[in-house]
Amino acid sequence: MRKHLLSIDDVSADDAATLFATAAEMHDVQRRQVKKLPALRGRTVINLFFEDSTRTRSSFEIAGKWLSADTINITGKGSSASKGESLRDTVLTIAAMGVDALVMRHPASGAALQVSQWVDAAVLNAGDGTHEHPSQALLDAYTLQQRLGSLEGRHVAVVGDLTHSRVFRSNVKLLTKLGAQVTVVAPPTLMPSGVGAWSAAAGFATSYDLDEVLPKADAVMMLRVQRERMSGGYFPSAREYTVGYGLTRDRLRLLGPDVPICHPGPMNRGLEIAADAADAAQSVVLDQVSAGVAVRMAILYHLLAGEETD
């Protein structure tokens, strides 16, 4: 593992396998009554969140606490630019307190990479704008492997607002790295610009037709669609989006009964995912949340304690 986790580009397939093995052990710990491990005793992890988050922040916080790290949350809305302080000054101030790891979420793409060039602490990207969310991709892949075994040759459909999704960007990188065949599905207005060249170079497929993709899928990953995108003219109405790209009750029949359904949350029930799909036996939405803590424990462990134990 590299010093930072900024992007899935920092994670090799071997790194992922190592992380997943550790995560499986952590997952066992999670099921114990006493969950605390001493691995990161005396280490300080700051969750620096410039954007609202409940699940990712609390998942990292629990992960840090169960590893006995001192975990502190610092939250601030919006960019520091609006407050007249540069991002560099903000993070240098926090790092100067003596921090081992900065878990950072920021509304701007690339912010975690920039910060990693300014501070000595390990930087974990917990979501940078519409760029990447690598811990989410790792917990998604871990969850899918638990259900499917190896992802080699498995077909994963990723469906929704790809343009604005950091979950998609990290997932498409990791899933292809692990040998999965990925098809991303969205209306043309929600496909990232230049996706034709990108998908050709990176080896994934694109489609506008969900009904054609679902029967071939070994797993489906639904992405959140923000209702405010409608005002940007990305699609005409919620109803039309659901008919075209929602995982509706009817579409559920196109899926095999054991095909896992993922969603990174928070879900817009009735828009991109029907209640029947979200609550189906094959839905792994809550498994993702549970795996999230274990995978984030594994990430923190390998970034902060890795050098002593390897």
Binding site: S79, A81, S86, A108, G110, A111, G129, P192
Partner: protein
């Protein structure tokens, strides 16, 4: 009365060596083996290329308002070091240059600095708001004699306002320099050329078409009104196609390209380094090639720097939050030499055309860009084509350090600059 200077052995436009006698602010004599008059200072220019002083249609000198980033004085220094004898200072200062008084203030600061002629650009619309015309006529009648108007930084997006501005400035031979960016296609957050890279990096896209539709609209407005329009910082192959078509029809349109759009490409944004954040954004290689060809064949008339100094902390934000713009004055000629002359696309006479004659003509400056003949104003730059410039951002005379050329080795270096016969730069440093 300034001292008399004999420039010995320079090659005007890269041609055969000749001596240039600069006296009383004009080129007094030109020819081989001139005798140095008594008391004249002799500048050895053996091996150097002599060009008429450079004229920059597009700079941001930041005064008034952001004197921590640049002042008229420090910007004038950077201009002189870059071989310029005249610069146009954009109106997006604080307060905006949208009145005669504001224009005169910038003009006077330039006079006081005394290193280059500083011509304020007037805002097209009051407060750059894009709604009501600024006092264009009063700015022109002021002692700043404003002839170029631009809301640069923002596009005059409303077609009716643009039409009226184009019509109105005809009364005094003015020109509107348009920052072409359709705000509905490329908004304030748009900061990366829209394409594969912006999609992959998750950066808000700035599609080339947002520039092209405005250029296309504006040339049609220029045709309709019979007025002249200037396209600032052309950045795409599509814009070049529109310009070529419009010029073919005889529409009165001129255009500039920046040095950075002639060399730097989109892929530099891969590391999210705000040094490379500029508006319009760096484009892919295909656009760069089209811009070079258009500059060489005259479709694009001029090189202009869009020199945009920023205080360090304004660039130390996340990429989308950081300020747009990069330094350009000190490196413009070395970049053009590197991209256009070393490649054989242009000769030194062409460089003089695109960096002196044409910009002076576009801005209506009759004491600049007049060449090196006897009687011309003694605005001269001496260039060493054999010594590349190795760019060190800390060596800059600008107050700012947002220099995208840092660490690069560029084509040629500026050795000396003369403004009306007075040396402003000698041996590559301020005189």
């Amino acid at each position: 009365m300034s001292e008399t200077i004999l420039v010995r052995g320079a090659r005007p436009y890269g041609d055969e060596p000749a001596d240039l006698l600069l006296r009383d602010g004009v080129v007094a004599e030109v020819g081989p083996g001139l005798d140095a008059p008594a008391g004249a200072r002799v500048v050895d220019a053996d091996g150097l290329v002599a060009l008429p002083g450079l004229v920059d249609l597009h700079t941001h000198l930041r005064e008034p308002g952001r004197e921590d980033a640049e002042t008229v004085l420090t910007g004038s220094r950077a201009a002189a070091v870059g071989g310029f004898t005249a610069v146009l200072a954009m109106a997006n200062t604080s307060p905006v240059t949208d009145t005669a008084e504001a224009a005169e203030r910038v003009h006077d600061l330039g006079r006081t600095a005394g290193l280059v002629d500083v011509h304020p650009v007037g805002a097209v619309t009051r407060g750059l708001a894009g709604e009501e015309l600024a006092e264009l006529g009063l700015m022109h009648r002021s002692r700043a004699r404003v002839s170029v108007f631009s809301d640069d930084g923002r596009c005059v997006a409303d077609a009716r306002v643009m039409r009226r501005a184009l019509e109105y400035v005809r009364a005094f031979g003015g020109v509107v320099s348009q920052h072409a960016q359709d705000p509905s296609l490329a908004g304030p957050a748009s900061c990366c050329h829209e394409g594969e890279l912006s999609g992959r990096l998750g950066l808000p896209g700035w599609p080339g078409v947002a520039e092209e539709v405005v250029v296309a609209r504006d040339v049609m407005l220029a045709r309709h009104t019979g007025s002249r329009v200037h396209v600032a910082h052309a950045s795409t192959a599509g814009t070049v196609e529109v310009l070529r078509w419009a010029k073919g029809l005889g529409i009165d349109v001129t255009a500039e390209v920046t040095p950075h759009h002639l060399l730097l490409t989109t892929d530099l944004l891969e590391g999210y380094d705000p040094t490379y954040k500029v508006n319009p954004p760096l484009r892919p290689q295909e656009d760069v090639e089209a811009l070079r060809a258009a500059l060489a064949d005259g479709t694009i008339d001029a090189v202009a720097t869009d020199h945009a100094p920023h205080a360090r902390h304004d660039k130390e934000h996340a990429f989308v939050d950081a300020a747009f713009g990069m330094l350009g004055l000190e490196t413009a000629l070395p970049v053009v030499a590197h991209v256009m002359v070393e490649s054989g696309l242009m000769g030194w006479a062409d460089v003089a055309r695109v960096m002196s004659t044409a910009p002076a003509r576009i801005a209506g400056l009759d004491d600049q860009g007049q060449g090196l003949g006897v009687g011309a104003p003694a605005n001269v730059v001496l260039v060493d084509p054999a010594t590349p410039l190795v760019v060190d951002r800390d060596a800059s005379v600008s107050l700012s350090r947002n220099n995208p050329w840092h660490g690069r080795t560029l084509g040629a270096s500026v050795v000396a600059t003369f403004l009306r016969g007075v040396p402003t730069v000698l041996d590559g440093t301020l005189a």
